[in-house]
């Protein structure tokens, strides 16, 4: 429900109509007295008729407004961070005793749902969250916000499928309409019959000269790396509601309290390479630990 001046839309509508009604009545009384008297009987009947119509229109309008207002009442925002700070492309961040930077980060999320005990309210089958679009106005990563319709309630967490669920991953861009998140051709490996669930790209400075020089890319995909997890938090929806979900890349690269050792060559890249699917699995499974609710 949208509130204006402390009243909801319906109340405002009634108030505005009453105001217009008063003006009309006033005008009739002031400038058309003689005519009003001559046709008093007829006019009163018409007047009552219009009044009834007006009331009916007002009530039906209120019903429509209620239906409209409850749609898209919940706002879910995704944000990329590094150590709690909004992620910026090409910015050097400390990584243990080294320096790291990122230039690409996007991810698919499946079966997004708010959780309330055993109850789930499904928000979306699939979304493609691109924090680093080509045409962003600057190097700051973008926040991506979706609107969903959610019933009032106190929810205890959000459930996210990290990647593309197997049923959807069995399809390809040709199976989807042009405005669907899975239509994005650049995120599909035709050779591997899988979407690229997550892309994280950057560089690390391994020789300690303060300039990043070693490529990092984590392009993770295929059914075995898909996983689902619920992150707990208090999410209240009363008329409207909102939630910010942050994915922190420092946490993504932290395993059991230790940063991933990027001096190890096999830790630097994974790109749909079946021989290194273990790294892809590690990264995707660690997404739940990198998820922070705000």
């Amino acid at each position: 429900m949208i509130l204006r001046n402390g009243k909801n839309d319906c109340e405002n509508f009634h108030a505005e109509n009453q105001y217009l009604f008063n003006i009309r009545t006033s005008n009739i009384n002031k400038s058309n007295v003689s005519k009003f008297n001559i046709h008093k009987h007829t006019s009163m009947k018409n007047f009552a008729f219009f009044l009834l119509l007006f009331a009916a229109a007002s009530f039906s309008s209120c019903k429509d407004n209620d239906d409209t207002d409850i749609k898209d009442n919940f706002s879910l925002t995704f944000r990329a961070t590094y150590d709690g700070e909004l992620l910026e492309k090409y910015k050097n961040y400390p990584y243990g005793d080294k320096v790291i930077l990122f230039d690409k980060f996007n991810t698919y999320l499946s079966d997004i749902a708010l959780v309330n005990g055993a109850t789930e309210v499904k928000l979306s089958d699939i979304e493609w969250v691109n924090f680093t679009p080509d045409l962003a106005p600057n190097d700051k990563t973008v926040e991506v916000t979706y609107k969903y319709t959610v019933p009032d309630g106190n929810y205890t967490g959000i459930k996210l499928g990290y990647g593309v669920s197997p049923d959807l991953n069995a399809k390809s861009p040709a199976d989807f309409p042009t405005d669907h998140p899975l239509y994005v051709e650049s995120e599909y490996w035709s050779g591997w019959k899988s979407y690229i669930f997550t892309k994280v790209q950057g560089e690390v400075d391994l020789n300690g000269d303060g300039v990043t020089e070693t490529n990092l890319f984590y392009h993770c995909g295929s059914d075995p790396v898909y996983n689902v997890a619920t992150t707990n938090g208090n999410i209240a929806v009363a008329g409207t509601g909102s939630l910010v979900v942050e994915f922190d890349l420092k946490k993504l690269f932290t395993f059991n309290g230790q940063l991933l050792d990027l001096t190890v060559t096999t830790n630097q890249t994974t790109s749909h390479d079946a021989s290194n699917i273990a790294l892809g699995q590690m990264v995707m499974e660690n997404f739940k630990n990198a998820t922070v609710l705000k």
Binding site: K89, D103, N138, T178, E185, Y188, S190, G191, N215, D273
Partner: protein
Amino acid sequence: MSAGQHHALCGYSPNHQLNESPAYEIASLKLLKMKFLVYKAGIKPLIGIAMISAVVVLAQCKKDPPPAPLVCDLTDIPYSPTPYTIKKPDHFPQVPVPADNPMTAEGVELGRRLFYDPILSGDSTMSCSSCHLPQGSFTDNKAVSTGIDGIAGRRSSMSLLDIAYVTTRLFWDGRVKNLEEQALKPVEDPIELHTTWPEVVQKLKNHPDYPGYFRKAFGINSCEEITKELAAKAIAQFERILISSGMSKYDRFVKGEIDLEDEELRGKLMYFDEGAQFQLPDAQCFHCHGSVTLTGNNFFNNGLDSVGSFNDFVDKGLGEFTGNPSDNGKFRAPTLRNIAMSAPYMHDGRFQTLEEVMAQYNDNGTGFVNEDPFVQQIGFPVQGHYPGLTPSQTADIIAFLHTLTDTAFVNNPDVQNPFQ
């Protein structure tokens, strides 16, 4: 008689303001006088009103400038647009079509004519097709294109094959968001068609045929309603039908109709990084030229130029449009379909052959920070270094690229010059 009817009768512009006209004031006085006479004479009101109206009409028509004749009324031409279904191979994704420019047979036909007609250029010598010829897979096979004044541009004309699938901004530098916007640019570019849209629109209005084509495509009622936006919409509709035939050797292989030769198959496996089990390295091609249309529609620095800083790029590409230095040196990855027909290569046409292109990639980039990492990891690593592909592997990739040749597309009669 309503004001609108009155305007039509006198041939006025609909914007003409009756109550600001001196004729209106005169007519109003006459109207008062007539009212008085009618009242006095006791003539029935209807007759009186008719007389008054006649006086008003006559007064206005007499006092105002002579009406301009209705220009180029097209309403006699039937307007019944035929929905156009874009033909595409079954294994291709749906073709995106904007809601405000639905495809019609009439729109496509008008667009085709405009695309091939030199009427769009300042001296009527060049058209869109001068730089986008079917036989070059809708390129001009030149390093950079030259406009009507003989001035060379700084970039190569991009292939228009499967251009409808490009939804992430167009041109090498992404400076326009869609085909409708793109079609407006070359006309006014001083080193391309070098004219102005008002001039072009005027020529189209005066043309014996185009007004009728615009009427059939967009339902306009008069020549005066021809606009550059409608012209661009028609051209965009035509460009959206420039879709692969699905008859290339590669497509027929994908559909299971034929086999590839061994070298082509090896090339395909390396292109898509499917060759690990056959001891074939990753050529990393598909990261930027992937999926069905063989372009991800994204922008990359593919390691062409060695620079010391973001500002050192001679052609800043995407950065020129976004103003963001870290976008400098990035260009849109074009489709590799029909790549053997669309030489020379790169945004500035610096490479004449596919062999030269592969030699560039086998050098594994420059290592600059915004360079795509995949151009630095081509081939099998040797002690942490990527030496690129071997000559035979390179030949295999090129053999595969030749399987993308789609002669059925370039010979498709629907996309040819209608004036020949």
